[in-house]
Symmetry: C2
Subunit: 477 residues, 2 copies
């Protein structure tokens, strides 16, 4: 039941096996769709809990908006509509009736949310309006399905906020990006680079898009989360107006931002190894699995008794622990299964441990083992979990650094992209034509334009003319 | 902004105003759909938290399954399909492509879940499989929209479990019904009657359906939650088989059960009054609102300072409290708004309170007021919230009792149904023809057949022949 390929040899096949064999997700009967299984859902719930807590502190409120959007509403912002329409799924029938108007299965909720909030907002006193929604959206995927990374339907969180001023909207965009970055780096242990999207890569209809990007082991970038300043691009067609402090009517400023279950896919790809997942302790559904080892009924009773005591101690220390008391499997079989599922720490209780009054703690990330005396086991497990969380981040950071390259001219950029991949920092003049040519020639896109522009170290990597500064190129998922 | 009709005079109009003016929900731009606003969502999150905690104790796990179901899959259980097909919304296009097969927007997830779990289950060791899903489903509503009560899309929870034996499935059905009953009675303060559904009212495809039913102030029943034993009706077409303890293959036994945001509608209708909502403390997003009263800047500062202290004390006591420190509204305006929103307890801090070192606690349910010395305020608020929770249940129970009638013959039944309404306990012979005639003549259906059959006190209320015992009739939402 283990994974049959090496991660370094065939990342794609390794990934699919890791996701499905660990019980995170399963393919649904229709192309493009997956089932989020309980083990995967539990990780998603931890992501949700982190975001809910952070958003609540800043006054955001959860709400729910319809899953279907009338075509006329989706059309209200022309650029937005034309961007999404190629991948919209349309409801056209109810029972045996043809509908008068097609209803889009929401690809994103800007339009349906703006149609509502325009009725709710009267004066500046109603602002800011800070909404967040947990739902699923659909974008028809014609390419092959990759669980979490590329699916027609995906679970996500979409935030939508309405503000009095441009400055407030701008502050919100970056406040959220900061929360996302903490989620990714401190919770998921995945370092990210940040910046603006170029015009061609920004959210359709936005003034500008900010992004967080991670690098995967195959050298392809993964967009982890985006936060958009919509300016007044939507508030004007949707008539989101408020009576200002100056007693005059103004159009509001809006933002939207989202992260999806794609983050689970990133965790799998970044941290896993040939044996399967390695879950960062902060999102692991099970942080410590206790495996009793016994060769006789008498040993079994004692090991299980000790295991139950340890389970209670771990729980009392706020650690998510599980005692694997199944008798039909050998310890070795259990070790493999929990390694596949990425449980960060294993506590073994065998005959020698029972004699010595110890527990053997075994780390999933490094394979390191240590014996601790029983009364210290829970405390030490807590310490090790923190260490593992930190070690995973450091390892991922080293990978990001080793996969971030600098290119002074196009041949260098092309060689890196077509070789080991990764982020390529190269100078760009700002022209969409150069960006498009580079994409055409290499498949790489501009992943992020740094917020703080650095001095150019060369001319534009494509045209050679004066560059505005370096940006990050990469092929991406 | 208050409600402009009396609850007793026009429940329907009162209800719509109460729901929308209190900020629970808003109508969406398309018929049949509503927006669950933050205040309503917060109630839904409390219902969810209660259920998640109870289900987790019993080993259920949350998961997520696709929102679209291929027509061929929905057709696998014929009775199920024919029951749902008149109200299914169909996706037929993706972008500008026609799909080869229509995809149903899930009206319920039995078929898509069974298609997956049949792959997951190999042996009796994989059972029971206890799944729960929080999602939205759609059933095209041709009647007019009533927020929470009758909407095309609704948020709900659907549980799906797979068992080795008929007995286990049966136990699960009743275990869940018991949790639902506790949610309704102990959390939402709404008493319910329970029983089996008749053949004509059961879930399409089920062996039998159990139900919990409440009575609304207009004498109509509201189905609050159902729990179904599917027998092997689905496990056979979906081939949910397992290798048994006897080393032979068996078809599994399945159950499903659900509650929806309809429960929020029930809370509004059952507990509200002419001023607006009255929320049971256990689900109220805000349990205590603190309203400072002042006539000068100096009073304002003192009242606000006292208010902030009280806010912290209430929070420290685990009470969800809010300080209304807005200066643009009068205390009277604020009282009205918080009454409309149904906050169970108001704490007033005015000049007299400041002089006397007291807080005035005012109950939303009874209007009763009492002054308490400051240091006792948080403790006393906690007591009053418990009292309010109990008082709301008692009042609703008295309503249920006063609206439960007995009819010995059809003319009596008809007179009650067409008069004040309510539940009518009447004897029934068990024939679907009699049930159908009664529905035709009065609009009343059999809401529940008591689990413990009572002795009949008359012949069948329709045909006069020997009855099996009394059942509960009512018109229903």
């Amino acid at each position: 039941m283990g994974i049959t390929v090496r991660k370094s040899e065939d990342l794609s096949e390794w990934y699919t096996q890791a996701v499905t064999k660990a019980g995170l997700a399963d393919y649904a009967p229709m192309k493009g769709f997956i089932v989020l299984m309980p083990y995967g859902y539990s990780i998603w719930e931890r992501i949700r809990a982190f975001m809910d807590a952070e958003l609540e502190k800043l006054g955001h409120k959860n709400a729910y908006f319809p899953a279907l959007i009338p075509e006329s509403l989706l059309r209200k912002e022309a650029e937005h509509f034309s961007g999404f329409v190629p991948e919209v799924l349309w409801v056209t029938q109810a029972g045996d009736r043809q509908l008068n108007e097609r209803l889009a299965v929401r690809p994103t909720s800007e339009t349906i949310i703006y149609a509502s909030v325009s009725k709710w907002i009267k004066s500046w006193r109603d602002l800011p309006l800070l909404l967040n929604v947990w739902n699923s959206v659909m974008r028809a995927e014609i390419k092959s399905t990759k669980p979490f990374i590329r699916t027609t339907e995906f679970l996500w969180q979409e935030g939508h906020t309405i503000h009095e001023t441009k400055e407030e909207a701008e502050r919100e965009v970056f406040l959220i990006l900061g929360i996302y970055k903490r989620l990714m780096e401190e919770v998921l242990a995945i370092p990210v680079i940040s910046g603006y999207k170029s015009e061609s890569e920004k959210f359709v209809g936005a003034l500008y898009t900010t992004t967080l990007e991670a690098i995967m082991p195959d050298g392809k970038a993964l967009q982890m989360g985006t936060s958009h300043n919509m300016g007044q691009n939507f508030s004007i067609p949707f008539e989101i107006k408020y009576l200002g402090r100056d007693e005059r009517e103004h159009f509001a400023w809006t933002t939207s931002w989202g992260i999806s279950w794609r983050l689970i896919g990133a965790v799998v790809m970044v941290h896993g190894d040939d044996k399967g997942l390695i879950l960062p302790p902060r999102i692991a559904p099970i942080q410590v699995v206790i495996v009793p080892i016994f060769y006789s009924d008498e040993e079994r009773e004692r090991a299980l008794r000790r295991g139950r005591e340890l389970l209670e101690e771990l729980k009392a220390n706020g650690i998510r622990a599980h005692l694997d008391d199944r008798t039909q499997y050998t310890p070795g079989w259990k070790f493999n299964e929990w390694e596949l599922k990425g449980v960060p720490l294993r506590a073994e209780i065998g005959p020698r441990n029972l004699r010595e009054g110890t527990v053997t703690l075994s780390r999933r990330d490094s394979g390191g083992k240590e014996d601790v005396v029983e009364r210290d086991a829970a405390r030490r497990a807590g310490e090790l979990l923190e260490e593992i969380q930190g070690a995973l981040f450091e390892r991922a950071k080293a990978m990001l650094e080793s996969m971030t390259h600098v290119a002074k001219d196009f041949s260098e950029l092309k060689a890196i992209i077509e070789g080991r991949g990764g982020f390529v920092k190269a100078c760009w003049c700002g022209s969409p034509e150069c960006e498009s040519k580079i994409k055409e020639q290499t498949g790489a896109t501009i992943r992020a334009i740094p917020f703080e522009r650095e001095e150019p170290f060369s001319g534009c990597v494509w045209c050679g003319r004066e560059a505005k500064g370096p940006v990050y190129f990469a092929r991406a998922y």
